[in-house]
């Protein structure tokens, strides 16, 4: 236990050190940082403008109002943003690190590989998503369409953590294919973009798509399904429970797959 404790401390200290260095580097290129932030912010605003134009034509969409959809939209951004902020370097596994042999560097150090991958980078662009998400959620709360009691607040926090973990797991799973096929970026992109489906109520899709985004690449559990719990009194808290189970299950599978991948890592011909 003592051993575990010091290991944990060491990882924590190191994470702080690495991220601190990274932040320093970002602060040296402030313009880049703000441009990236603005870019993400802006593309989210476009998405909302689209919804706005659509709702000029109809009063509700399958029983959902514009305000409610805005909440779902905003709620979806929070776990996405958290994952984006903390684990963005997973993309580099899929696109570059494995094929260029840069994974060597991680293999040579006496630390957990996944830790090393994510500790390499914080993605400040993610603040754009977190910002849009927070604004939309606060807006929704001020409109009084969100249920607020102690249970809902606690489950809200749990839900966004589980949601972020689902994102991370899906990313890690598809990125790990790179150990076999060198570049798995396109696969990861496909999987990641499935999240777009979950920004809207899943009822609008056919059964196959609904099944796919609920159980196979479970983005529905990141956004629409838990969000509905906070909007409608008749939705049971079980949905958050299932979200957590899915998060843990998917994490275990992805992490095992990642480990399998590192064991067959081929480096690059040199």
């Amino acid at each position: 236990m003592e051993q575990k404790n010091t290991t944990f401390k060491r990882y924590f200290k190191l994470y702080r050190l690495l991220i601190g260095q990274f932040l320093k580097a970002i602060m040296q290129s402030k313009v880049d940082f703000f441009m990236g932030l603005f870019g993400f912010f802006f593309s989210q605003v476009m998405g909302i403008a689209f919804l706005y134009l659509v709702f000029q034509q109809i009063p509700t969409l399958d029983g959902w109002t514009f305000d409610q959809l805005i909440f779902i939209y905003g709620f979806a951004q929070i776990p996405r943003g958290i994952d984006h902020l903390l684990t963005d370097n997973i993309w580099m596994i899929a696109w570059r690190i494995v094929i260029k042999g840069e994974f060597d560097r991680y293999m040579l150090r006496p630390m957990n590989l996944f830790f090393q991958v994510i500790a390499e980078k914080l993605q400040p662009d993610a603040l754009g998503e977190l910002l849009v998400g927070s604004i939309l959620i606060i807006l929704s709360i001020s409109k009084g369409i969100v249920i607020i009691d102690i249970w809902h607040v606690v489950l809200f926090l749990i839900s966004i953590i589980a949601g972020a973990l689902i994102y991370t797991s899906i990313k890690l799973f598809f990125a790990s294919f790179a150990f076999w096929i060198k570049i798995s970026g396109p696969f990861l992109q496909v999987a990641y973009d499935m999240a777009e489906f979950a920004k809207y109520p899943t009822e609008i899709y056919t059964k196959i798509i609904r099944f796919l985004i609920t159980w196979v690449i479970p983005f529905a559990f990141v956004a629409y399904l838990p969000a509905s719990y906070f909007l409608k009194a008749d939705v049971s808290a079980t949905v958050i429970g299932i979200e957590c189970i899915i998060a843990i299950l998917f994490w275990c599978i992805s992490y095992a797959f990642f480990n399998k991948g590192t064991s067959i890592y081929e480096s690059s011909g040199n």
């Binding site: 290129s29 313009v31 880049d32 703000f34 441009m35 990236g36 932030l37 603005f38 870019g39 993400f40 802006f42 593309s43 605003v45 476009m46 403008a49 689209f50 134009l53 659509v54 000029q56 034509q57 109809i58 009063p59 509700t60 969409l61 399958d62 096929i181 570049i183 970026g185 396109p186 696969f187 992109q189 496909v190 973009d193 499935m194 777009e196 489906f197 809207y200 009822e203 609008i204 899709y205 056919t206 798509i209």
Partner: protein
């Protein structure tokens, strides 16, 4: 002319080759870009289902289905982002290499973009187009478009391609002045998907905004050819729209030349 083609055509074929070499990416990116269309499709289905009127923004439900997928086909072949290449070239310092070669940098980029366009046209574009046609006739019970409107659509697409690429060239010039182009590319992407009618037909915008759009090149990039294809423009309007595209090609070409002259002057002074 022939000699010129000999210089620039390799850019086209190299780009085609480069794109083909990513076997996995080939099929998958097709799929990704279709996601957006399918989301739009289901969303519109739900929207029409929730609307009392059968016509929204001047589109019937069936027309909207065609619109959603034809916008995908058109934008996938038209919107070749050469600004990305320019910024790569600037970052890698290969622009000055291009300056000392006896050729026009912009034309070489356009020919490269042509390779990308051909690839996207052959790979997903044309098949999805055929798919839409089959769906249209078999399921929706609509008529085949006549040859003339197909030809006009293709003509309009070619101009759209030129408008987009020439515009993007001007946009890419930003990378000579700042290294922070990444964020701007994101903004451009988001803004264009909105203003070109990719996300939602321009007829859904408030009237006043639509009037503003009349004086911008964006609707000529994707919206115009798709509207022509749908047969929404006829007679005088049709001619006017094609003429407008033509004018934008000329304006953006001249603008690009002007900026390029300024930039190269600066490059020579600063030593690239």
């Amino acid at each position: 002319m022939r000699r010129k083609l000999k210089i620039y055509l390799p850019f086209t074929s190299n780009e085609l080759k480069r794109q083909l070499s990513y076997k996995g990416a080939f099929y998958l990116f097709m799929l990704i870009s279709l996601f957006g269309s399918f989301i739009s499709y289901y969303l519109w289905m739900a929207i029409y289902g929730n609307s009392e009127s059968g016509v929204l923004g001047g589109f019937s439900k069936n027309e909207m289905i065609i619109y959603v997928f034809m916008v995908y086909v058109t934008s996938s072949i038209v919107t070749v982002s050469i600004a990305d290449w320019i910024s790569d070239d600037v970052v890698m310092g290969t622009v000055s290499m291009n300056l000392i070669k006896p050729m026009d940098y912009r034309i070489s980029l356009i020919f490269r973009a042509l390779g990308s366009m051909l690839y996207r046209f052959l790979a997903p574009g044309v098949f999805i187009w055929i798919g839409i046609e089959v769906y249209k006739v078999k399921v929706l019970g609509m008529d085949f478009p006549n040859i003339l409107s197909i030809l006009l659509f293709i003509l309009s697409c070619i101009m759209s391609f030129l408008i987009y690429v020439l515009f993007d060239f001007c946009f890419g010039m930003i990378s000579f002045f700042t290294t922070h182009i990444f964020g701007m590319l994101l903004v451009k992407e988001a803004l264009l998907s909105f203003l070109t009618g990719q996300l939602i037909p321009i007829s859904f915008f408030p009237e006043s905004l639509q009037h503003v759009f009349d004086y911008l090149p964006f609707s000529s990039m994707v919206y115009t050819p798709v509207m022509i294809y749908l047969g929404k423009y006829t007679g005088e309007t049709l001619c006017y729209m094609l003429l407008r595209q033509c004018i934008w090609v000329i304006i953006l070409y001249l603008l690009g030349s002007l900026i390029w002259r300024k930039v190269t002057k600066r490059l020579i002074v600063l030593g690239g």
